[in-house]
Symmetry: C2
Subunit: 144 residues, 2 copies
DNA sequence: ATAATATACTACTAATGTCGTAGGAATAAT
DNA sequence: ATTATTCCTACGACATTAGTAGTATATTAT
């Protein structure tokens, strides 16, 4: 069970945008440089995030990307599933008819439990939470 | 984030063995037939489970596989990690030095939270629990 | 107008991992 | 000996990932 860079990069890019709220559009190359991601690859990830409605873009000079909603309104689970696909992908938990044993299958029960545990974490966190956490971390570091 | 058939098959095979405790060795082809898995593929999975110490085998005619420990002593997390690798694989959660931003990275915090949530579920379930669940299910079905 | 700066879009590719298939060797029971 | 079983290694088809590359399009600045 591995987390793709697509998801990791995408969420880090969203976090950059969340921290940039109120300061106009942020350019791909800035995000890419700060997060150490290939510009061209990030380009494709932003296309996914845009078509999913999480970000909006401004083309041309002085353009860039912005969050489409307030950070407090975007849950981690939304973006995660958009990039990574369904959490803990097992056919049988989604498709009752995928397997004849589904009704009796205790393994299937476990996969469902896992799914719920992961979703509970991701649904409990918004991008605003992450922005706040970052501020806390930085404040702590200055103090030291 | 996808669960491999390796893990799903492996755990289902272990469950068959757990339900067979006290009845001598169980043959690959029996497990494969009951769980609808390719014998040859399961063959390889059993090799992994054996070298990890979860099952032991008896070669030759009338041979087969048995659990190496009591079902109550085998946690799902043990077998899961053996087959699937570390839960929610992200380099930076294991390797502090993987990324320079690690100390300040809130994304990394989230991955750690996910990891812990998944492990908590898997560590709380033993194969004995699964055997019991199966019995409950069957009892319920007879009743209906 | 023209140049510069950005996003938008499409196509391609190298590497990797998954999910098997295949064939035979070793071992034990009958 | 024959049969049944695990054990071991090699191979292959397929899908996915993580990019690279090039071009088109939109907007701003000069």
């Amino acid at each position: 069970m591995r987390l793709s860079t697509r998801t990791r990069y995408g969420i880090r890019a969203m976090l950059e945008l969340a921290e940039n709220v109120g300061r106009g559009p942020l350019q791909l190359r800035i995000i890419a440089r700060r997060q150490d991601i290939s510009v061209k690859y990030l380009d494709q990830l932003m296309a996914i995030l845009k078509s999913a409605g999480f970000v909006r873009s401004i083309r041309g000079s002085k353009g860039g990307y912005m969050l489409a909603k307030a950070p407090v309104q975007i849950k981690l689970s939304d973006v995660f599933c958009c990039l990574e696909g369904p959490v803990v992908t097992v056919e049988c938990t989604e498709n009752e008819n995928y397997c004849a044993r589904a009704a009796d299958c205790v393994a299937r029960q476990v996969w469902t439990q896992l799914q719920e545990a992961v979703m509970a974490v991701l649904q409990s966190i918004t991008f605003q939470d992450l922005v706040d956490r970052t501020k806390d971390k930085k404040a702590l570091n200055y103090q030291i």
